[in-house]
Amino acid sequence: MHIDLIEDQVLNSEMKESTRNLESVTVYSEKENVNVESLEVGRNTLSIETISTLPSFLGEIDIVKSLLLLPGVSTVGEGAGGFNVRGGGVDQNLILQDGGIIFNPSHVFGFFSVFNPAMVDNVTLYKGAAPAQYGGRLSSVLNVNLKEGNYQDFKISGGIGLISGNLAVSGPIIKNKLSFIVGGRLSYSDWLLQAAKDLNVRKSAASFNDVNLKLTYQLNENNKLSYSGYNSNDSFRFASDTTFKWHTTNHVLNWKSVINEDMGLDVNVVSGKYRYDIEDEKGLNSFEVNSEIGYQTLKLLFEYDINERNLFNAGVEGIYYHFKPGEQRPLSPESGVSIKNIEDEKSLETSIFVEDEYHFSDAFSIKAGLRFSLFNNFGEGSDFIYDEGGSRNSRNIIDTVFYEKGDKIATYNGFEPRVTLNYKINAASAIKASFNRSRQYLHLISNTAAITPTDFWKTSNRYIAPETSDQYSLGYFRNFKDNTIETSVEAYYKSGNDIVDFKNGAVLLLNDNIEADLISGTSEAYGIEMFINKKAGRLTGWISYDFSRTFRTIDGEFEDEEINFGQQYPANYDKPHDFTFALNYKASHVVTFGTNFTYSTGRPVTAPLSLLRVSNLTGIANYSLRNQERIPDYHRLDLSMTIKTLPRVDRNWRFSWTLGVYNLYARRNAYSVFFKNNLGIPPSAFRLAVLGTAFPTVTFNFEF
């Protein structure tokens, strides 16, 4: 067939079906040398296929855990919720699932992630220079896109693992017009707790479940409407008394419209909620504590490809937050627990953004974006006024101001410029440089290094200014062997202002003048990341190494407003050396082997240095200044083997078995180091390894 493309034309042709055996076909959704050509730096994309072939803990395919294998992404410890990107805190990542905000990405504290692998299509992480359409967090954007339902046939897929099972059903409601996909996961992990020796553990119960529903309606050739709903629940009961529950709901409505060949409009309406409860049902002390955040988002994104060399986008985003930071109440009439309620917070974050990508020549291109964000915290509410001659603490409260409903309490705004330059040396190599500034108006109030169920979020207010961060990065990208091997070296420097930290000895939960226990300071982070990624062939996977440091300086006016006498100190997640590899070897069409290894420097801790006796107390530990010591280095090797049915055209079902071992050489990686003061024996230091042994796993997956 020969076609002369001199004008737009439509050509319909019917194809005949025939079967041929191909050696291997690699389908790229992007150009092969996208990492060289694109104006993206610090970006990693993972497909669910890649993620699912990596060995996993207890067979649970885990998106967040696979991100940890990438350079510049780390965690404070096994089972710790959240992740740290380029020296940023766990609250500095904007985590979006189909546009809905995920505030806590973990199930069972941090052992599993909240994303159902059966629903995930692809995952993109921006470690810096995020597009101007994203804002509100300092360190990264994690964009998780879910699959759309099948428009032609019904499909069922699922998996059964050691601790949870998942099922996804997809198909047309109106053929070629309206499709659905619904997926759910349910845990049955209690047997794991029953296997423990400790009675308290056996009396405990842990469970989680999540459901995703996505409907997609193809209105016409140019318009698509979709709904993505998400509901996730966690419950953890300790020794039959205290129950921790956390819960996320998101509703996302999206309208994608192609105005013409060059223009498109994307409208997102989101409503979501994150909430936790702590309950203790025992008589005299029965209580319930909860904290809830709700938000509604409206986002408009307009894209215009002015010409091949000039791509433009602009839009607006508004997010309304309604936070209930904490409420405590008794659960029974005889309970002695008093009712306590921390004031609600209402805030509006509005932003406008423009971005243009311009290719001056084949060699030189630039992407420049500008975001302007305006934040308002408004009443009703009240604030304590502190005596300015003293440190901000509860003993220096001199007055209280009250705000009427709708009164402005605090307002902040600022520009967030973002620039990326690409100089292409040749088709296989490029140098890229970028600068970006971000502003963050939400703060996770926590004095622990990981996200825990009792952490709560606060918006900026009279006392808590927005956090800001500037990042500079420079990278060299080079591909080899027909773009099948990607390599890169990226260096970055980041500085942050008004980074929120806590005072020594701060009590954060249900504290109605929390500003007196918080302090802010500056942060500094720098690092260099090396990455080699083999994308095709029997052996695929990557090797990465990064060296990075991250520090904070908190130097207030008064003694209790400084940390470590105002000297710079390492942040909780400062882990200078990080080496990982994640490799996959396809031995045949049936058998695939996967392995990953990770090594990182132990995280900083405030360690006991010596023991002392004061007054009537003995065995009291004298601690170092904040984060001056380190726990032992972390390393772990995992292995997996996947056996799949041989794909055949006449077979419309598939299944696979995955066998694996997590922590193959059973290293007792330290989670924390602490000391115990037992009567009769000298006080001594202990190391806690949460997963101190090798974990064999088996998972069964099916699709038909």
């Binding site: 006991p608 240095l609 004298n622 180091v673």
Partner: protein, 357 residues
Amino acid sequence: MKITKIISLLISLTAFGCLDQIDVNLGEEPVLIIDGGLTDQPGPHVVNLRFSTGFNKIAIFEKIRSEVIGAVVEIVDNQGTRERLIELRNGKYQTKPEYQGLIGKTYHLEVLLNNGNGYTSIPEKMVPVPEIQSGSFEKRAVEFATETSIGTISKVFFKIDFQDDPESVNYYRWRYRGTYQIFAPLGDLPDTCVVSCEVCWETIPDCWATAFDFQFLNVASDEGFSGKQVSAMEVYSTNVDRQFNIGYSSLIEQHSLSERAFTYWSNLKNQIGNNGSIFETPNFQINGNIRSENDPEEFVIGYFGVSAVSSTRIFVARSDVGKTPGDIPCGGTCIPPACIDCEQWPATQFKPDFWPN
């Protein structure tokens, strides 16, 4: 909040996790501890000079460092009056018995070690403390959990009433001392002595022993009860054990604290029993009120505080607590000496003045 439970859970997940004892080669440099106080009660008032000890060592077997011997230790008031403390053994220094603090005066401590290093405490004012209006007690069963079971144990809770001063912000620390009568089952035999393992112990049947508030720390600010009448506030509890065989007398002391002292003690209190895991409030270096004269960078541990003290006594008779464990067992090849001579408990045979007849 019971977040600490999560960590104990994680620790107890020993089926998967594990806990190893490790060597910590940190902080070989011992740090000087200066610890003492002055009250408005008659002395002697004590100041201890010590050094911190390393891990895996028992403090009492540590050799006393020579620097703390022969030091000059003085309490100085705001009028410049100095009270030189008398050196006892092992770095312990004390005032004359008649020396006592006065409410309203400001005091600080000056220490000059024999190596020439000088230390001073940040001055503290002695503020008044409300009288304890009355004391009471209650016997109650509480739940406890061991690694293998959950049970209940009987305890006696001691409580006080007082009126907080509405005029000022007040900080409190409570201490206690229990005195209980003991009986040596073989002590009332007619013999003057009974042989146990070739030693003849004098027969003394009735004694009084003292239980100090070892490892007990209870401090509070008046936040939550400022200016109010406080009723039946629990100060401490103790297990229903042999202390209650005959009778138990509790002395509860209420100390006034400065804001700085309160911060110091409450920080210490929060850190005791904290495992330093990522789920807990991280531990930190606690600064007392002692500063080095020679080297402002030198870290010195400890606190010299001044307090006014009020007290109350509460008597608990055996009949108030019900069943107690009874006399100590006196069988075996060697009869325990405390079965014959109750002073071996250890205790004293002299009946305290406050003991009811």
